[in-house]
Symmetry: C2
Subunit: 424 residues, 2 copies
């Protein structure tokens, strides 16, 4: 079964919005072993949307189309699908009532143009779930199917999981494809950079070169770490999983304590912040953070993880220097130093009554500060009555990258302290 993704929106072609939907769908489909798919982007133009849909139906079995289901004049997907189906659009009164109820529940005025979101091509059916206000559609065209999803990423994903995925799996079973299954197993690393990690894995890359299965790929990320992705392909999921695990053992042996997490489940579970929260929760420890250049970003990352409240008590963002002196008892003077970071980490524990403290103070850039170049960042971990500090050299990067990397290095330093691993 071949699946094609069509992303609709002039803002995509003009680059005003990034097409995250195609990537997300591609990953979900790849995990299901649905390969041989195409990806197209088209603007808010009726003729070109129709052409894209017809082209997709000609060469694929199912088409997933995202975007153009909103209430504005630019939203033409419904009409384009109706044209392709050779059917009229009909306002569905039950669907209309559901949408009106949603607006009422959220205390939002129902504009006339919102009623168009209840228009359905005759012969198509709306999806059971409504995430935002735009209902998705499942449309049969001959032997083929179009799934129309909203363009808003969180709405699209919710509807895909709830309505499209079950339908797709059913359809694939009907195809009787002897689908190969792809299984991914990813190891998440921090410490050595991407090229150093690739160099350590040269023996494995050479060993796998002949068979080409499993494959190993590297994905560098300042937030998630360097990801080493092992992909195994086999006739069934069990065999693919076995192959992936066997290779993971070999890789793990070569990477040692650079690996901070691994698995073949949702990447969010393997974020450095998720890992340290789990380690602290297991040990019944609470956490407080003292921030400066990061402005609150470290706390924001921690609190994006479900269950953070079991561990995270809060933080002090001491952006102005005198806030460090007054609220964190830092001795007055230059603030970009390991001593300052140590005071910040220890004192935020005391002020917020937490077991463990993290702190960062440094020069995000682009200007120098206290005679120190951008990228000079001092971090500290107060753990079990002992404070460990370190100076990072994050130069040559834009301000946002310095702030992001500060958090990831701090999480990794905490992980190493908890696991009794060497820090530098």
């Amino acid at each position: 079964m071949r699946c094609e993704i069509v992303a609709i929106g002039t803002e995509l072609l003009l680059g005003q919005i990034v097409d995250t939907n195609s990537a997300w769908l591609a990953e979900r489909l790849a995990t299901l072993g649905v390969d041989g798919y195409f990806q197209t982007r088209v603007g808010d133009n009726p003729a070109r949307i129709e052409e894209a849909l017809r082209q997709a139906l000609a060469r694929s079995d199912v088409v997933i189309v995202c975007g153009g289901l909103g209430p504005t004049q630019d939203d033409i997907t419904r009409q384009a699908i109706a044209n392709v189906m050779g059917a009229p659009l009909q306002r569905d009164p039950t669907l209309l009532a559901r949408i009106e109820t949603i607006f009422r529940q959220r205390n939002r005025p129902f504009a006339d143009n919102n009623a168009t979101q209840a228009d359905v091509p005759v012969g198509a059916r709306p999806m059971a779930m409504i995430a935002g206000t735009a209902p998705g559609l499942i449309c049969q065209v001959g032997e083929k199917h179009i799934y129309a999803l909203p363009g808003v990423p969180w709405e699209m994903r919710a509807l895909f999981e709830a309505d499209v995925l079950p339908d797709l799996l059913q359809r694939r079973a009907q195809f009787g494809d002897a689908e190969a299954t792809l299984v991914n197993h990813t190891l998440y690393c921090w410490g050595p950079g991407e090229s150093a990690i690739a160099a350590r894995l040269t023996p494995r890359l050479q060993a796998l070169d002949a068979s080409g299965n499993p494959t190993i790929a590297f994905l560098a990320s300042d937030i998630a770490g360097t990801r080493v992705r092992i992909t195994a392909k086999a006739a069934d999921a069990e065999e693919a999983r076995r192959m992936a695990q066997e290779e993971a053992r070999e890789v793990r042996a070569l990477l040692g304590d650079a690996v901070f997490s691994e698995g073949d489940d949702a990447p969010m579970l393997h974020l450095p912040e998720a890992v340290v929260l789990r380690l602290l929760a297991e040990r019944g420890q609470t956490l407080a953070i003292a921030e400066s250049l990061t402005g609150g970003g470290i706390g924001a990352r921690l609190t994006s993880i479900a269950g953070a409240s079991r561990v995270f008590r809060g933080g002090i963002v001491a952006y102005a220097d005198d806030v460090k002196f007054e609220s964190l008892s830092v001795p007055p003077g230059p603030v970009v130093s390991e001593e300052t970071a140590e005071h910040m980490a220890r004192n935020v524990c005391r002020v917020l009554r937490a077991d463990v403290g993290l702190a960062a103070t440094g020069v995000a850039g682009p200007d120098s500060q206290e005679g120190l170049p951008p990228g000079t960042v001092c971090i500290a971990v107060a753990w079990k009555n002992e404070t460990t500090t370190r100076t990072l050299n994050l130069g040559g990067r834009p301000r946002e990258q310095v702030r992001i990397l500060t958090a990831t290095w701090l999480f990794d330093m905490l992980r190493r302290k908890i696991m009794d691993l060497p820090v530098a």
Copy 2:
């Protein structure tokens, strides 16, 4: 002059990484009036990369290719370009020395495989600037040109601006194209939702329907606001700008105080956080924030804006309830209320000695809290000895969206207080 974008990386096709580069490049090219371009994505496969490049060169005049310039075995762009040029790869000693110096300056070990990044197809030249460690390349193939850029977004953008753009503009002049110029003028709005805003602009959409120039498009964003983008096309930039400004006047009249910023320059300057920092800086006021469900995210947004330190003193992230009671003098009891938000906003001003305070307390979800449903958020602005509070109903959205929206609503409430506009 036709320009094609080729994005390289198996992780793109598998959806593991989102292709932000194509979108960014597309926007830059569109602003330059370079249309008629194609976008392709291809995996780390030598044969398919070569095929994509040859296809691009057949139908376009310049090709911008991103990715595959790293040091690992997956990085095959250099070789593919060399094959297309019919030339060998040659290690450039000057370039090698530059890369080694960069590694030394950043205190990073130089792995053997990093030397491959100094390989250049004979006849091509490296770009003058190096952002990360992967040098870009400018490669002539007959009458056409390939620009090879790193896949890491910030590196790609830096090299595009420094080296590719000037070269592209020169090349376009040689084409003697009577290029049309596109000018965008965007109004950024908050308060009414996207459909309400589109409804208010119906008279303009009808008025512009016949000519189709300028066009008006809507882009909804929980972070940046609902953007109303006016796009005018004319033979020269002056005329296009005049047309866009004229339409902006009409649109502004219909949208009133929903418009919090506008312009045709970098969107980052028009973020709600940038707007409130500018307004406070103009008035010589300082700001402190008290966060809870947002975990530090409000401060992180504020401090991503250059010059935030003129205004922002810091904040207290009172994630655990008793931190609210102790550090922000909130009366013990339920914390999701407008009274609590008021205490938080006023007291963070006192504790951090700031003129203006912002606060948010609420239920991010997915669980209820204190009998209140997810999305119930109370926000407060302490401005000029007066505290204004409001309860938001952000239900029906995932946790991250509730946190993001809380910040944007809080910035908008502050903007309205400063500008003496109605809040609700």
